[in-house]
Each structure stands twice: as structure tokens, then as C-alpha cells.
């Protein structure tokens, strides 16, 4: 055991003396988490109203167009941006420049036509191929639908009662009823997430663990280089002439990488907890289990890379190419939800996807310890696979 620990401490000393280790293991993941979090959270936008800006022109002065404006103003998805000087061409340019998510134009005569057999359609200018465009369109449709329902209801009431004077009151009453509709859809999610609205789950819960995992793999280049240097300097060959077995040498190197990764994870988890408001410590045991099994898995991959690489350059290549492939495939860059069905289905071939599941189950889904058992088991399986391959390759390598 002492032999193993000696090798482990030697490796750790060597790694912590290398500035690259800190760069890849700490500085880069923090920098990229902030960059991506900034991008995906929309930090810096007007905090008083995070709704999507939608240009608005009302060319119709009718009561119904005013009612429609009120309905549109009540949207939780978008906010109306009205400027009397703006023309349709201006709005189109602003949408093309992505300054506006869409534009709504109530054409002249809209209110009168709504009462007739042939109502005029509401004009919306939108890039319907984008997610924000689709969301805005859906909400506009809901508002228009409610207005038209109010008109139809008022027409029916007038017709049934035989009293045309009740029309306006019926419209007003119908629209007022939509403030508290007969059927309500209540959004719920896991209890811990609902209980802690202050948590920053939406903004960083994906990017923080994603970047942590990506740079854990990237950082393997320094760990793998230790093995390469040891082999190139013939230190490994000399070590093999001693009473220390191959298995102990391998375990010594493996423990060093695992300890380094675990330290990286714990520091970044602490950073996430303190500065990004990600509640890792709500389930500290679960977080530790995922961090440990991920470190065991990525550490075994690092060992395999170190055993396979014949030069420092190969160690860099063998680390960075898996980093790109495993991170992208596992959803570290873009959540698997928005990737294609095939990509999404094969995403869990990457251990990064399992590790992300584990961390997201804790910080985003607010689930308990049992939710990380399957991801942890999968990561452990990968660790065994990578370690076995590394041991096999080491056994048949030239150092025999």
C-alpha cells in the first residue's frame, strides 16, 4: 500500500507544480461556466421585465382593438413595445436585427370586421422557425382566440336575449372572466425546486456541471503526460525492476488522477454553491457519490490515455479529441433535449451524459439520493471498463 501511495503523492506533487493543471482544472471551467451561463441566462438584460420584446402598431381605434391590446399586454411571454413613430418597415428591420422577437399589427377596421361574418386577421411579423418565435405566436393566438370568443359569446347572448344593447357588457364580462378562467393549468415541479425559487437552477444548472466535466477530461492531458514523461525518462522501466508490481504502479497513478479530479470537482462544486447559487449541498451525500464515481470514471480514462500515448503530443490529442466527442455527445455543450432524436438517443453512450444526469438530478430536478444511484452505477461501469483496458494495455506494453 505504501508503494501505491508513494507513487500517488509523487504524481500529485508533479501535477500541482504544473500551472497547466490549474488552468485546465480550475480557471477554464470557471471562466467557461460564467461565459455560457451569461449567454444562456440572458444576464445583463433589463431585469425589470425579462419578457420578449414585441413591436406593436394599432391602426384601429375601436373598442375591440383596445380590448385586444389589454389581453396582449397581459402576456407572460412577451411585452409590447409601442412607438407611434415606428413603421412596419422599421419593425421588420428590428426583427431581422433580433432587437424584437416579433411584431403585431392591428389593421384598420379590425374591430368592425370582428363583428362581421368575415373577420380580418391580425397581422404578425415573426420568424416562426425560432423557438422564441413559436412561443410568442402561441401566446398571441391565445389572446386573439379569447377576444373572438368574447365577441361570439356576446353575439350569442344578444341573440338569445333578443337585446342588442347587452353586447358591450357581455364582451366586457367575458373578457373579465378570462382573468380567472373556469379551467386553470397549475404548473408544478419537484418540491425542492419549488421550495427554493432563489436557486439559480435555470441559468447554470446545466452549464456548470457541463463545463466542469468537459475540462475534467481536457485536464487529463496533464495527468496523462505524467505517465508519458515517466516512460520517456525510463523511470517507469526502472520502477518495474523493483519489487513494486505492475498493478500497484497503475493504481498509484490512478489514485493520483482520481484525487486530483475529486479535488477539482469539490472546488467547483463549492464555487457553484457559493457564487452560482446551485444547491449541490442540499443532497451532499448524493453530490459526493456522483463526484466520486465521475472522478473514478474520468480518472480511468486518463489512465488509459496515459498508457496509450507514446509522446506528450499524443497525450494532448488523446485527451482533447475525447473531450470534444464525449462532451458534445453527452450534452455538455447543448442539452440533449434540443438535439436531434438520434443524437439524443445515443447521447448516453458518453459517460458525460450519466454524470450530467447525476448532477442535474440534484441541482436542477431537486431529487434525492436514490436518483443518483443509476448514474453512479453507470459511471462505475465505465470506470471498470476503462481501467481494465488500461491494465490490459499496460500488461502487454513494451514495459513487460
Amino acid at each position: 500500500m505504501k508503494n501505491i501511495l508513494d507513487i500517488t503523492f509523487k504524481d500529485l506533487l508533479e501535477l500541482t507544480r504544473n500551472r497547466m493543471t490549474f488552468l485546465f482544472f480550475l480557471i477554464m471551467p470557471i471562466a467557461f461556466t460564467l461565459l455560457f451561463g451569461f449567454a444562456f441566462s440572458g444576464v445583463g438584460k433589463a431585469p425589470e421585465d425579462p419578457r420578449l420584446p414585441v413591436g406593436f402598431i394599432n391602426q384601429d381605434g375601436s373598442q375591440l382593438s383596445q380590448e385586444l391590446t389589454t389581453l396582449l399586454e397581459g402576456s407572460t411571454v412577451f411585452r409590447l413595445v409601442e412607438d407611434p413613430e415606428t413603421t412596419t418597415a422599421d419593425l421588420e428591420k428590428q426583427i431581422a436585427d433580433k432587437d424584437l422577437a416579433a411584431a403585431i399589427l392591428i389593421p384598420a377596421g379590425y374591430g368592425d370586421a370582428a363583428l362581421s361574418e368575415n373577420p380580418v386577421k391580425l397581422t404578425i411579423i415573426i420568424d416562426a422557425s425560432t423557438l422564441s418565435g413559436m412561443t410568442v405566436q402561441s401566446d398571441i393566438l391565445m389572446a386573439v382566440n379569447r377576444l373572438m370568443n368574447a365577441v361570439r359569446t356576446a353575439q350569442i347572448v344578444s341573440n338569445v336575449s333578443g337585446d342588442l344593447s347587452v353586447f358591450d357588457a357581455a364582451v366586457t364580462e367575458t373578457l373579465a372572466a378570462w382573468q380567472n378562467p373556469p379551467i386553470r393549468v397549475a404548473d408544478t415541479t419537484t418540491a425542492p425546486v419549488e421550495a427554493s425559487p432563489s436557486s439559480n437552477a435555470g441559468a447554470f444548472s446545466h452549464t456548470a456541471p457541463g463545463m466542469m466535466l468537459q475540462f475534467a477530461i481536457a485536464g487529463l492531458l496533464t495527468a496523462a503526460q505524467v505517465l508519458v514523461t515517466e516512460r520517456k525518462s525510463r523511470c517507469l522501466q526502472r520502477l518495474l525492476t523493483t519489487a513494486t508490481s505492475r498493478a500497484r504502479i497503475l493504481l498509484g497513478h490512478y489514485f493520483a488522477i482520481v484525487l486530483l479530479l475529486l479535488a477539482q470537482f469539490l472546488l467547483l462544486i463549492l464555487f457553484g454553491q457559493l457564487f452560482l447559487k446551485l444547491d449541490y449541498l442540499r443532497q451532499a451525500g448524493a453530490t459526493l457519490l456522483v463526484a466520486l464515481t465521475t472522478a473514478l470514471c474520468i480518472g480511468a480514462l486518463g489512465l488509459l490515455i496515459g498508457v496509450l500515448a507514446k509522446s506528450e503530443e499524443q497525450a494532448i490529442m488523446f485527451s482533447l479529441i475525447p473531450m470534444f466527442i464525449l462532451s458534445a455527445l453527452g450534452g455538455a455543450w447543448v442539452p440533449l433535449e434540443i438535439t436531434g432524436p438520434t443524437f439524443s438517443a445515443i447521447g448516453h453512450v458518453s459517460p458525460v451524459a450519466w454524470a450530467l444526469d447525476g448532477f442535474e438530478n440534484i441541482i436542477a430536478r431537486g431529487l434525492g439520493f436514490s436518483s443518483v444511484l443509476i448514474p453512479a452505477a453507470a459511471l462505475l461501469g465505465y470506470a471498470v471498463l476503462f481501467f481494465t483496458l488500461a491494465a490490459w494495455r499496460f500488461r502487454i506494453s513494451e514495459e513487460r
Binding site: F24, L35, Q137, P182, A186, Q314, I325, P341
Partner: protein
């Protein structure tokens, strides 16, 4: 001639290294390939937007109510159900939405919530026992619980949109009844049935979007462009910029390598002036980056059909990338004491400056149009090149691109002068 010899020797050395070739060509093409497959759902067969299928688990505990059944008797054909919950289930299970949602049923809310927690479903829709009863009473409000995986956005959004649209049509009928009762004072079941019938008959047939909305695309946006090619084109552009700078720095690192291997001091003992040697080194970097940029541009065009914009814009952008990357390589290496510091430069300075510069591209993917980020990206030369790339893709005028080009060239000049000055001082 000696300058050219040095330049060609350095270039040959770069292209003989498998390591360099992988970083110059394989990785810059690998990343867009990953993005191509990642966003494969966005556009297939040119323009079709393929939405993800969301797994929905429904728990229908609704016990119905006599009032609801009586009200349903007044509905025109096709909407018959024992309870409102049954009606919701039948709509969600209908073939109309089979392409968007995959419905399964659960016996109790706990099982349904567990299915969402275990990621076997994206959404659980829970219909309570008094769902119909609440809906049928005059002041009652029926509540559907919509339990969703908090990490999902698109799928649950679509399901909720479908659900709300249907609920609005049912709610509209009840509101019509309530308003009639208030305005006329009637409680006559026959009259109420008549109101419901008329209301349902007045609902527009077919797709409500087509009936109520006139949807126009902004004319100033480039029409009919495959969005995935836009995404891949931008990612390819970002990779082209990053790896051109990587090559610039890596090739210029050869100066330090030669110094450490003592071949450079030996070269200084020959009748070749230090300025000729440094010019040759710079030319070597320039030629290597030029070859890389041209090959990547052609590969991106052939593999991903990337439309780089008009030829004047792309030529200008490429010239700026090549010159700036080469000068940046000379500048950065002039600051290093030894080649061992190269790793920190590749990993830190190069990665951070390029990613800061490329932020507008990734912000664009995230739908973030924050102008502050665009301004921050312009603090590094890569940001100006990214701006040229994006302007070129948006068919901006040559004048707009020219300004970014001038700023990039100013950066180039500074890098070149400082870099060469420092090297000359070191090897004086």
C-alpha cells in the same frame, strides 16, 4: 531568397507533423460535424422544423358529475365523454397530436411524478377527482396539475400549449353560459343547452392559426435558408478563427524551439541578417495559416455547404484572419521565456480571447441579443473578425465590413511591431 527558404522550411515542418495536422484540420472540422448532428432536428429536408416528441403520463382521477354529463348532452357530435377528464385524455391521445406527444397512463399521481423524476416522462398531467364537478359549478374552477421535468423547456412548452388551447375552448363555453345567465337571468337548462350548442357551432373550423392570424416573415431577413447550415456555418467560422490563431501561435513557437535546440543561434552566425531570419519566420507562419484557412474554407463549402457570403467580404475576412493570426503568434511568442510556457498560452490566452470574441455567435444560438456582450467581444481582435463573419453572413455592405477590417489591421500592426521589436531585442 533566404527569407523564402526559411519560410518554406517552417511551413514544411508544420505540415509534416501529425499533431499539427490534427489541430489544423481534423478538430476544426470535427466540432461542426458534432453540431450538425446535435441540431439535426432543426432542419431536415430543407425547411421542415422537427419538434421533439414529448412523453406525457396522465393520471385521470376525475369521477365526473351529473351536471357535466347533462352539459355534455348539449354538445354537438364528436365531443362526448363521461367526464371532463376523459375528454382531456381523449384529446391528448388523439392521432392529431401523435407526432408531438406520446401518452401513457398512470394509476396515481405518485407514480406519474416518479416517472417524470426518473426521466421516463417529460410531463405528468394530473386530473383530480373533482375536475368535472368543479367545472360544472357556477363559480367553481377546475385545476389541472402540470408536473414537468424542470430541465426540459421545449417539449413541456408544446404540451402546455396544446392543453391550454383545448382548455380555452372548453372554458369559453362555460364563460358563455355564465355570461348568458348573468345578462339574461335565465337558468333554463334548454336555453343554456342552446347557448352551448351555438357557441360550439360558432367555433372556427380547422387550424385557428390560419383562421385568426396573418403570419408574415420579416422581408429583411434572408428567406429560405436552411437553419442548420446557418448554425454549422457560424460554428465552422468560429473554429476557423480559433484554429487559425492556434496555428499562428504554434508555428511561431518554432522560433523558441529553434532557440532552445540551438539551431537559431547557429543561423545567426551565418551571413543572414536577424531581420531576414525573423521576416522568414513571420512569412512561414503567414504561409502556414494561409494554407490552413484556404483548405478549411473549401472543406466547409464542400462538406457543409457553408455559404460564406460574397467573395469580396470573405477575401477581406480571410486576409484579416491570416495577417492577424500570424502577427498574434509572433507577438505572443515574443512575450514567452521558453516554449514550455506555450501550453499556458494555448490553453489560456488563446482559448479565452477566441471565446470572448466568439461570444456573439454562441449568444445568437441561445437567442440572447445582449449588446453589452457584442461590445465585450470587440475588446479582442478575434471579436472584430467574428463581426466580419456575421456581417458577411447577413449580407452586410462592404463598407460595414471594411471598418472591422481596418480595426483588425490596426491590431495586426501593433502585434507585428511589438513582436518583431521584442524578438530583435532578444536576439540582438
Amino acid at each position: 531568397m533566404k527569407i523564402l527558404d526559411i519560410a518554406l522550411k517552417d511551413m514544411t515542418r508544420s505540415f509534416r507533423s501529425m499533431f499539427a495536422l490534427i489541430f489544423m484540420f481534423v478538430i476544426p472540422l470535427l466540432v461542426p460535424v458534432m453540431f450538425y448532428f446535435m441540431f439535426g432536428n432543426i432542419a431536415r429536408n430543407d425547411q421542415a422544423f422537427e419538434l421533439p416528441v414529448t412523453t406525457v403520463v396522465i393520471v385521470n382521477l376525475d369521477q365526473g358529475s351529473p351536471e357535466f354529463q347533462q352539459a355534455m348532452a348539449n354538445f354537438p357530435g364528436g365531443m362526448q365523454a363521461d367526464s371532463l377528464g376523459g375528454l382531456v385524455v381523449s384529446v391528448l391521445e388523439s392521432q392529431d397530436f401523435a407526432d408531438l406527444i406520446q401518452v401513457s397512463r398512470a394509476a396515481d399521481p405518485e407514480t406519474a411524478r416518479a416517472a417524470v423524476d426518473q426521466q421516463q416522462a417529460g410531463v405528468a398531467i394530473l386530473l383530480p377527482a373533482d375536475f368535472s364537478a368543479q367545472f360544472s359549478t357556477l363559480e367553481g374552477q377546475a385545476v389541472i396539475e402540470f408536473y414537468q421535468d424542470p430541465t426540459l423547456t421545449i417539449g413541456p412548452g408544446i404540451v402546455k400549449s396544446i392543453l391550454k388551447q383545448f382548455m380555452d375552448s372548453i372554458s369559453g363555453a362555460k364563460i358563455a353560459v355564465n355570461v348568458t345567465m348573468t345578462e339574461t337571468g335565465t337558468t333554463d337548462p334548454a336555453l343554456i343547452g342552446q347557448v352551448v350548442g351555438k357557441y360550439m357551432a360558432s367555433q372556427p373550423q380547422g387550424d385557428p392559426t390560419a383562421t385568426l392570424l396573418n403570419i408574415q416573415s420579416p422581408v429583411q431577413m434572408e428567406p429560405a435558408r436552411n437553419p442548420i447550415l446557418g448554425i454549422v456555418g457560424m460554428v465552422m467560422g468560429a473554429m476557423l478563427i480559433f484554429y487559425a490563431y492556434y496555428t499562428g501561435v504554434a508555428t511561431a513557437l518554432g522560433i523558441l524551439h529553434e532557440d532552445e535546440q540551438h539551431t537559431l543561434p547557429r543561423l545567426f552566425t551565418t551571413p543572414t541578417s536577424p531581420s531576414s531570419i525573423l521576416t522568414g519566420k513571420f512569412l512561414g507562419v503567414l504561409l502556414t495559416v494561409t494554407a490552413q484557412v484556404i483548405i478549411l474554407l473549401i472543406a466547409a463549402r464542400l462538406i457543409f455547404q457553408v455559404n460564406w457570403g460574397n467573395w469580396q467580404a470573405i477575401t477581406l475576412m480571410c486576409a484579416c484572419i491570416i495577417l492577424n493570426a500570424a502577427a498574434f503568434g509572433i507577438f505572443i511568442n515574443s512575450l514567452l521565456k521558453s516554449s514550455k510556457q506555450g501550453g499556458v498560452v494555448f490553453g489560456g490566452v488563446l482559448t479565452l480571447t477566441t471565446w470572448v470574441g466568439a461570444m456573439p455567435i454562441f449568444l445568437g444560438f441561445a437567442g440572447n441579443t445582449n449588446p453589452t456582450v457584442n461590445t465585450i467581444s470587440l475588446t479582442v481582435p478575434q471579436g472584430w473578425i467574428v463581426r466580419m463573419l456575421m456581417d458577411g453572413a447577413n449580407s452586410a455592405s462592404l463598407n460595414q465590413i471594411l471598418f472591422s477590417a481596418l480595426v483588425t489591421l490596426a491590431w495586426t500592426l501593433i502585434f507585428f511591431i511589438v513582436g518583431i521589436w521584442r524578438f530583435q531585442r532578444r536576439y540582438a
